[in-house]
Symmetry: C4
Subunit: 304 residues, 4 copies
């Protein structure tokens, strides 16, 4: 039972396939975190004084983002872009360009500080300021991703309260599901670290962004293996690229190769976050869950 | 003298081969750590507040474990599952499903805190609570693995005292041996870090689980090289997979490939922990050792 | 749309190509950091007492640098060498040999301490002492690179004040641009971590220089992917090698292979820093920017 | 100018080749660090209480070392083994077995604590105790390697004072040279981190031995690239394997492959430390140096 059997010709028709997949073996959702300077500033305000570090992040707006938008245009593909409010304020033209090309723009906090290190009041403030920054560009996001995916148990409630209808922060599945909040449903589109470019490409000595710089071909091998796995198991292939990372020349070509591989598979369809949200909400077979915070006995885990 | 000579056709009949190998060049023992949330909670109770981190671990029960159980069923293979008590309490149905399919279930502590960081009383408490949690599901384990393999010099004694007859925590051999405790024999089935999926796949920024995310093909190259080495040297190929890690789609396919490679070799037999324990106890050629704690001269190593 | 289309035969003539590229798809600028002992001493004066660590760095002058100079001679190529003042004082003959062979020698601070950890007075002192050390060898550099690329917002101003006309420290582009300082233009030739040999090869346990030692073939794959990307997007391929690292035997051969690959592409031209500076200054299409320090709201990023 | 030209048939006769290479393109010196428990204990005496960590190291004596000795016997090759005194005291039979097979045994300190973290008196004590431990087995070493290669500026003097005639701790060359100490010559046979198995294979979470576990094939690619480089540049290929690491089954096979590759090259000769020392001392072309401690100006490097 090898991967070969997954070729379009050899795959048997699937019985009772969920409708969110629309007949495909897997759904590919290309997502881009347009972080600009925010993850470096979130590591410490002092890094603003490091002109190299700031320039390393500004590559995002100056070259990385436009280059990736161009590659999406080559394939006439729509993707989903997660934008921190500070990015939108610092680089409004770059963000407006994303919207003008018809892509999804989603909320990615205001400052990119992880919610798990904030008070509930601060997390709420991040939501509000993020909306304001995008509203100034005429953008009303309906999707959300927590910075570093570090959602709290309050995040889903706050998100729905603010009009968010899909989230991509939780990792307990590789198929979409619906979170039932006290204010209504929130579609969860689960991401995973293994489909992220950060762990393969990110490097700065200070702040310390990562440990290695891998060749694009290694990232491609990792992502393609997961793509083929998700095709077998009927999951969501949600790729997360950062425009300051995957916008580098060789990596941008690699992203193009990834798109080509997805297309060559022949049994995968591309969807944006809002498209997939609608398909999930319309699919009665999708699992519905309530979030259940983990309660820990201090006698078992005395170390805070 | 190359690996080629190890092909089934070319291998000369082995003289005086130990009976625990039952005529095979190597024994393959597939083991799964069903850690669920425990290794993250062991790093600090505060991580329970990180909904993403908890969801990252809950993938184990929701998708990873069932997927891996399905792959074992494809080959009609029985494996050995190491279950912390907290996992059994939080996800009883998932654990009962393992047992219902006829796999070995072994003790893996209660909380997954390393014994080397506990008092002797705490280590004993971990044993007792772990047994209770499994007993509630009707499971009486006879095998044990220390969390993070971090056994103390007391572990073997405590294990036998509680009815454990095989352990898989010590790394001073790649063949089984028998530890003579004051209360009777304990079969040691030695593991090793190089046959673990954690170092290849585990990644979370907080708590910091690991440094890299490698493609499945890299893990396969590593494990296959060790398999072929153990076939030459007549050792035990004990693979350790974590269902929250190897349960991801591409990695699950990779585990299937590993099983296929083992089968293709033609001279390797699969055994569970209890099967191998019985074969080892019945083999008079197996080495018997008493554990000898390492005594250190503080004059040579003044730093504690 | 694959990399194949980039082959010399298949590439269509480029319309309105900027003149700094002189008709090439990409410009290759080979740069060498001749750090000798300086990055280890910058990590702490105490490491001078570690004879092994010092010898590890002295390989630079004794074998690494001469070997790399020999390889450049094989191809009759001129490259750009960044020399800290302390290196020039400790190993004057090695540095003079670079100049005698006709390569560019550029300023790389005096001590290799990152400017971002110095006071403005100390950064200025580093400039002055670095010039003095090179002047003692009859060398007047016109290029500059900040140690660890860690430029401050003052660096460009100080550089131009001291007669520097090109810099290679900022990463917000992969094409040259011109920084308009208060004292005149500074050509920026942007580097990037992914085209650096340090992250692939550097290893010392104390001071901790890096995490992994990669095979040369991995570095080659990384750099070749970026080369081909920059050929497509019309960027600058600036490779940064350290003579104490890439001067090791297998890595030196790898650098030769990299040069051969660049030559085989057929559409890339080699330039030194000063050659490229002149071409950039003569190109009216090159972007001109003022540096704009990033101002951070402490209310958004309270952590210093 | 590619590696192909280095094939035995294509290589032109070398003019004025130094006699220490005895007509070969490169000399291969296989060295083994027989560290047993010492590097873990050197990280902290408390690790003696971790039975798993101690067993991880004891694999060295129980399986790793005998396995590697067997592979050397297959090829009738003599190698050089560096033995800490504590290893000799804890595992005398294992060490005597090395000597009985006719290999070189060299001094590797008493405790494996790095000399750079000891007082001069402690470094001297390490020398004396190490000699005593080996003398108890009838072994008088003439070679030395500092633990972690961390030699001080005193190490060469102390070594010669104690009758050591060759050292392998300094990295400022890839050809042998002679250190002129106040008491006579010391042959330096330079090692390097890139020809060490530790950075590729070592892993323990506590103490933290390393970051990654690489497949044997990656180590082979790294070492083979360096071998071919040293063949071109006429250097010393000194491979450092640790018997607790490279003694693992797949890695042991990999070491066999490395030996086969060296043999297949056809222009490399194997030498032990003492054999090479004698050849170096008899070669008038070998460079002779005095060690010159690095003196640092605290005004340039104020941080201790």
């Amino acid at each position: 039972m090898t991967v070969d059997r997954l070729s379009p010709s050899g795959r048997p028709p699937e019985v009772n396939a969920p409708s969110w997949r629309d007949g495909a073996a897997s759904i590919a959702m290309l997502t881009f975190a347009v972080d600009m300077e925010t993850p470096v500033l979130a590591a410490g305000r002092r890094y603003a004084e490091n002109a190299m570090a700031m320039s390393h992040q500004a590559f995002d707006a100056r070259r990385g983002l436009p280059r990736l938008l161009g590659i999406l245009d080559e394939f006439d593909l729509k993707a989903t872009f997660f934008v921190p409010g500070v990015s939108a304020e610092r680089w409004p033209d770059a963000i407006s360009d994303i919207a003008a090309r018809g892509h999804d723009i989603a909320h990615h906090s205001y400052t990119h500080r992880p919610s798990t290190e904030l008070t509930p009041q601060e997390e709420r403030w991040e939501f509000e300021r993020g909306f304001e920054s995008l509203a100034a560009l005429g953008i009303t996001p309906t999707g959300y991703r927590a910075p570093m995916w570090a959602a709290t148990w309050n995040t889903a409630e706050i998100a729905v309260e603010h009009g968010i209808s899909y989230d991509t922060s939780l990792m307990d599945d590789d198929r979409p599901y619906i979170i039932e909040t006290s204010r209504g449903p929130l579609v969860e589109l689960p991401p995973h670290w293994s489909l992220d470019d950060w762990e393969q490409y990110a490097y700065l000595p200070a702040p310390h962004l990562g440990y290695v710089i891998e060749p694009p071909e290694k990232a491609l091998a990792l992502w393609t293996a997961e793509l083929d796995g998700l095709r077998e198991f009927g999951g969501l292939f949600q790729l997360t690229a950062h425009s300051f990372l995957s916008g580098r020349a060789g990596r941008a070509q690699n992203l193009r190769k990834m798109i080509e591989i997805i297309l060559e598979r022949g049994d995968v369809k591309f969807r944006t976050g809002t498209q997939l949200r609608d398909a999930v909400l319309a699919d009665p077979s999708v699992e519905r869950r309530k979030l259940e915070p983990v309660i820990v006995d201090p006698a078992s885990y005395p170390n805070w």
